[in-house]
Symmetry: C2
DNA sequence: TTCGGTTTGTTCTCCCGTTCACAAACTCCT
DNA sequence: AGGAGTTTGTGAACGGGAGAACAAACCGAA
């Protein structure tokens, strides 16, 4: 959402501007394929993969068709081959350096989260404005002052930043990130960020998800306004 | 998504089956209104509120229209009044007891997250299968054995469960939750859960969000397949 | 080579969500 | 009281995604 239509590509192939909804599902397929691969499965049908990914098989096939024709009719998909193609399409065959700002409870959890490392992301720095945290070492990376941001971004070529600060600090952090050259932000702070065009922001809000569940739960238990 | 059309209501008013996309935005409006209220704002226009929530004002008005006519033409919305109406609609005027299963890094962060408590959710229990963790006390709540789940759900009338375990354990935990009577699950584990109809599952996946950012980032920097 | 069985890739239709645009309704000023 | 200015609530057009259904393509056996 909020992703403006990128200017048309002039590339010979690939990049047939994949729908946003499809892009959001590709990582799910990627994980399902990894699981299948680790289980020793060499080939799978769209039905099997769809089931493993929790989606409709027709939707899966349509999604994959945006990438190209990587399946074989009458047979299915080669698990490892398709996995590589999706990984390449997403861009996780290369390593993405990432900085995390705000090393509170959530920042700790993120820094320790193994799912980043195993999926093409490398946490190159942990930053926090609080000097008391600068002594800490979290997940093998030492916490540094927030003011080091510009230097670190420059040194490591960081393009992706994660905000795990309180809501009040989030906009300031985002501004500094953008000024440093970061162009993609994953925001865990419960705040609406405003950033210039060309910068992508994705928001993860824990309490919002719970509230959505609560809404449906309310309807389930006492039917109407009892 | 995956929410089947609930059976038609027979209530006199309200409950005009609010679209799912709108439901997902109501918590955002709620937070924006809270911020406005704390800033001392008594009244606001749809334009102001939309800006604070980061959405289009027409969309905001249409969303609010599903709840009823709580605004005044030519004037705007009474902040506190609208805030209460939305909170009531979502169901967060009451307190929702919640259990968190899997007290690793992420579980710790979730247990300590103040946004739950302040938004109508009360963590009544922290559960973990690992006996070594049962000594711990996190955020004022002591960690208990996973086998206590049924009893706790019964005692507190828990309807919402949070899964913060490794992927391999997630399906088992979900099954036990459903068997215990939980009907809404917030899943942080990188796994696809299968649950019976009538149970809602929402998934939050940290690495998937990063991968989506990586995809767009890849398109930004080197335009096509360089 | 030909035929039956299987599975992909794609077309077509339907539905949901977004956005525009405007009438209805309210306030304030004269 | 009346009119100008403002803002809500909603009807209607538009765009995109979901799912069904089918033709094209592939494998293997006879």
């Amino acid at each position: 959402m909020e992703t403006r239509a990128l200017t048309a590509r002039t590339s010979t192939e690939s990049t047939r501007d994949i729908p946003e909804a499809t892009v959001a599902r590709l990582p799910v397929y990627l994980r399902a394929l990894t699981t299948l691969s680790e289980a020793g499965t060499g080939t799978c049908s769209s039905e099997e993969l769809a089931s493993a990914a929790g989606v409709n098989s027709a939707k899966l096939r349509k999604d994959l068709s945006y990438l190209g024709s990587y399946g074989t009719r009458g047979v299915g998909y080669d698990v490892d081959y398709l996995r590589y193609q999706i990984a390449r399409e997403i861009g996780v065959t290369q390593d993405w350096p990432v900085v995390i700002v705000g090393i509170g409870n959530l920042g700790h959890a993120l820094a320790n989260y193994s799912g980043f490392r195993s999926r093409g992301f490398r946490v190159v720095a942990l930053l926090d404005a609080d000097p008391e945290r600068h002594e800490e070492v979290v997940a093998g990376v030492d916490v540094r002052p927030f003011d080091d941001l510009e230097q670190i971004v420059k040194d490591h070529g960081v393009a992706i930043g994660v905000i795990a600060t309180p809501a009040l600090a989030a906009q300031d952090v985002a501004d500094r990130m953008v000024a440093s050259g970061i162009s993609s932000i994953l925001n865990f702070a419960p705040a609406v960020l405003s950033v210039p065009a060309g910068v992508d922001v994705r928001k993860v809000d824990l309490s919002i998800e719970l509230q959505i569940l609560a809404y449906h739960e309310q309807r389930k238990t006492h039917g109407a306004t009892a």
